[in-house]
């Protein structure tokens, strides 16, 4: 299973979202150093390191931003501890306006 699919599967199981987008943004970070690794080791263009998730789920109703992010982080704890280096989270409850007015 690709990392995109793993993330999708885990978030679906955890939150039964109404809407879920999993975007691999690794190519945007290609070439930036993986700090703590040898100096010449950089993120590859086809990597599975940087993700953005847009998720709308009833489970987030009444939760603060921090609580929502923590819940998503907890669902993806294994991935964050291994290959996923950065995870941007846009979590909304149904009916809340999005950043782009959607």
């Amino acid at each position: 299973m690709s990392m995109d699919e793993t993330i999708r599967t885990k978030l679906t199981a955890a939150f039964s979202p109404e809407h879920l987008e999993v975007l691999n943004e690794s190519s945007l970070h290609a070439g930036h150093h993986h700090t703590g690794r040898p100096h010449n080791e950089r993120f590859p263009r086809d990597g599975e390191t940087h993700y953005r998730v847009r998720i709308v789920a009833g489970a987030f109703t009444g939760m603060s931003r921090l609580e929502r992010h923590r819940a998503v982080n907890a669902a993806l704890a294994d991935e964050l501890a291994s290959t996923v280096h950065a995870l941007a989270v846009e979590a909304r409850a149904p009916g809340e306006p999005g950043r782009r007015g959607t």
Binding site: T35, R65, L66, H69, N73, A77, L80, A86, A88, E90
Partner: protein
């Protein structure tokens, strides 16, 4: 409390606004850290930047301290506020300015 936790606890409480980041405020070494620096600078907030790349122990320790898997991490009055996304969303909604002023921290741009 382990040594590193104690050290981090001291750092977190060493200023009103403390940012654990990759690089320094003058030279951020990660785009996410850089975004938070830009927001704090825009607001004219006085803050202390701590470069986690200076120490592997600190880099892992801060994640354990807050139970938050990524860096940057912003603390106000010893309390974890959030990472890059949360700080940006709060800033865009005017909530960050509000949170700072509620904690008695001066910003130069009007909230």
């Amino acid at each position: 409390m382990s040594d590193i936790k104690e050290l981090i606890d001291q750092e977190v409480k060493s200023g009103d606004v403390v940012l654990f980041m990759k690089g320094t405020p003058g030279f951020p070494q990660c785009g996410f850290s850089g975004q938070v620096v830009q927001i704090l600078d825009y607001l004219g907030v006085e803050y202390k930047g701590i470069n986690v790349l200076a120490s592997d122990e600190m880099r892992q320790g801060i994640k354990d301290y807050s139970n938050w898997p990524t860096i940057p991490q912003l603390y106000v009055k010893g309390e974890f506020v959030g990472g890059c996304d949360i700080v940006r969303e709060m800033f865009q909604a005017g909530e960050l300015q509000q949170h700072l002023s509620q904690n008695g921290i001066a910003t130069s741009s009007a909230a």
